[in-house]
Amino acid sequence: MSTESRQSPMGVGALWCRLARSRWVVPVFCAVMGVIVFAAQAANDDVGGGVVSLGIIWGYGLLLVLTSRRSETAALLRGEVPDERAEWIQLRAAALTCYVLVAVLVGGFVVALARSSGQADLWARLSALTGLTYLGSVLWYRRRS
């Protein structure tokens, strides 16, 4: 049984997985995000900064497109998941990223509390959202496996 055959039952989830694994999702995301960030900065009278942001984001997307054939790292960053090892790498990288984000959220919340900052509520809400997402994910995947 290959990785592909495990994805064969087509539903909304499977369709979403397929779309998310397309090698063009990240480049298209970069193209769109570049325009959005440029528009946001231009609306704030920072056209120069917007152009720089646009160049960085588009450049990143273009770099991935140009190098993904030769570099496995670039291919992974581009979102390519050709086999189960790539999927394993993507999952572990995503998990590590989440651990770092959770540490930042909890740290930010504690620091805001210690400083009696008005931002403590924001940190608390973001932390709660993260915790609830994790809880929901555990419940969802426990039922499905």
Binding site: M1, S2, T3, E4, E72, P82, E84, R85, A86, W88
Partner: protein, 67 residues
Amino acid sequence: MLDIVENDVRRLRGDKGLSQGDLGEALGVSRQTVNAIETGRYSPSLPLAIQIARYFGSTVEEVFHVD
């Protein structure tokens, strides 16, 4: 849980005169994944292990083993 599983994939591939890319293509995985399996950096899933064993006309136990 056993993390380190040794295997004979490199030897079996060499006996067949295949490159890592050839084997990867036959198995539907990347050349880098074949390399990672051979060097023990990645343990394949059970379905892929079975696929590899069948490709070489062996059993999973003959190809993958814990020494």
